[in-house]
């Protein structure tokens, strides 16, 4: 692995997006707009909104980075660019980590914007403060990117890649504790949620919301999220083959 190749890959990916301002705008504008809508949906129950807004902040980057990453990497696989790169003196890890770096950076920008809107304009109180919030959001973005990279290997068309969203992300969304506390769900669903990464990403946001100090649970959640992310990246690099069949 070489840092210059990893960084060059990350900056190439960001440059590609920078030539597509509409995507970038959607990436940064949609989450705060959705948060604002939620605020008014819960107008009668501001306490409820205060509880779910931070969780949503952890879910947005995960879902969006998952979608974007799976589509761009699928494109690399189908348009010949990956083919060409794999005959060049770069490693698969340069490629994979380049992507992870680029989208985690985007996640960071997204976290600043949505976090700023949430804390500054929508008056959500997060006891843990802004910095842990942003850290947890970046971890969520990293997770989404890694899962997108990994799962894109199993899609042969963009239609399939998009379908992975409802197939892999929705079940996690339903059981992650956003809609109802996890211990209120049927037992099998609790077991399911226990082994799904989004659960921990959402739990991290809960910890940040409810505790003024950095909790052990928060550390545990972030370690689990990061481990899932790294595992997905490693598996993702296995799905990229230098030599096929």
């Amino acid at each position: 692995m070489s840092p210059s190749k990893t960084f060059a890959t990350a900056s190439r990916v960001l440059r590609q997006l920078s030539h597509d301002p509409r995507t970038v705008a959607l990436l940064f504008v949609v989450p705060p707009v959705l948060l604002t809508i939620m605020k008014y949906v819960f107008e009668g129950e501001p306490q409820v909104f205060n509880g779910i807004a931070p969780m949503l902040l952890g879910i947005f980057p995960m879902v969006m980075m998952f979608l974007i990453t799976s589509i761009v990497t699928l494109r690399e696989r189908t348009t010949g660019t990956l083919d060409r790169l794999m005959t060049m003196p770069m490693t698969k890890l340069d490629f994979i980590f380049g992507y992870a770096l680029a989208f985690s950076f985007l996640g960071l920008c997204q976290a600043f914007i949505s976090g700023g809107v949430m804390l500054g304009l929508l008056n959500v109180t997060v006891l843990g403060g802004a910095i842990p919030t942003i850290i947890a959001v970046v971890f969520a973005a990293f997770l989404g990117t890694s899962l997108g990279l990994f799962l894109s290997a199993f899609a042969t068309s963009e239609f399939q890649a998009i379908q992975f969203m409802p197939a892999f992300i929705f079940p996690q969304l339903l059981t992650c504790g956003l809609f109802i506390a996890r211990d209120q769900m049927a037992k099998p669903l609790q077991w399911f949620a226990d082994v799904m990464p989004l659960t921990y990403s959402v739990d991290a946001m809960k910890q940040v919301t409810l505790h003024a100090s950095w909790t052990n649970e928060l550390t545990r959640d972030l370690i689990i999220v990061a481990s899932f992310g790294i595992a997905a990246l490693v598996l993702g690099s296995v799905t990229i083959r230098r030599q096929e069949k």
Binding site: R15, D83, R84, T87, M88, Q243
Partner: protein, 241 residues
């Protein structure tokens, strides 16, 4: 005469049990332009992908510049232009080249390299255009220019001149011949017969088999025909499938 590519009894079976190459053998000398000529579906791309190490042979062996195909040490000595565009449409020409140059290990003097290869394909005036806004032939030339980075010893080009006008084709062949004098070996696939005439050696491929191997004049003499097209047809004519 040194050998650039040595293929022994190569067979490649693709998914769906497609036998894309059937027991092919050949020795390709250094410093020549070698054309893989054959109809669509003949197996040209499969052969090329095997040589650059992207496809694992089902049987047989391939040696490239003295190393087994796919060897890591080959990665900075060969370049591969795929049949698809294999450049990023949402980057500018320059951004594409800079990225690939760094991947090839050129972190210094990238600007000089970029200028050089763009001059070779006459695309310097489009350096700052997004690839997706270029014409088909211009995109093709950008893709070719990536294969020129770092003066590779072996260039493997899958249909590099398809969709180009005769003037441009002529100038690219001048470039190919210039590269040859530096000792570069060029493997070029094509189904155009007019392209075939320009190669030093031809490998005629049909249904995954090599049906003839020789220089254009040898092949014409052998079949008693005036053009490569005729000799190809006469070679094919004898054996349906």
């Amino acid at each position: 005469m040194t050998i650039a590519v040595k293929i022994k009894n190569l067979s490649v079976t693709l998914s769906g049990d497609v036998k894309a190459l059937k027991d092919i053998s050949m020795e390709l000398p250094v410093g020549r332009s070698i054309g893989f000529i054959g109809p669509s579906g003949a197996g040209k791309t499969t052969l090329i992908r095997s040589i650059v190490g992207r496809l694992k042979p089902t049987a047989g062996s391939i040696e490239v510049l003295g190393l087994p195909a796919g060897d890591a040490k080959l990665r900075d000595q060969l370049s591969y232009m795929t049949q698809e565009l294999s450049v990023y449409p949402d980057l500018t020409v320059k951004e594409n080249l800079r990225y690939f140059a760094i991947m090839m290990g050129h972190t210094k003097d990238t600007n000089t390299i970029i200028e050089e290869v763009l001059n070779e394909v006459d695309m310097i005036d489009k350096a700052d255009s997004l690839v997706k806004n270029l014409s088909g032939g211009q995109k093709q030339r950008v893709s070719l220019s990536v294969a020129l980075i770092g003066s590779p010893r072996l260039m493997v080009l899958d249909e590099p001149t398809i969709g180009l006008d005769p003037v441009l084709r002529e100038s690219l062949w001048k470039l190919f011949n210039k590269l040859k004098t530096r000792g570069t070996t060029l493997l070029i696939s094509s189904h155009s017969m007019d392209e075939a005439e320009r190669c030093d050696d031809l490998i005629l491929i049909r249904s995954g088999k090599v049906i003839a191997h020789g220089s254009p004049s040898e092949l014409k003499k052998q079949t008693g025909t005036k053009t490569i097209e005729e000799s190809f047809l006469s070679l094919v004519g004898g054996e349906p499938e």
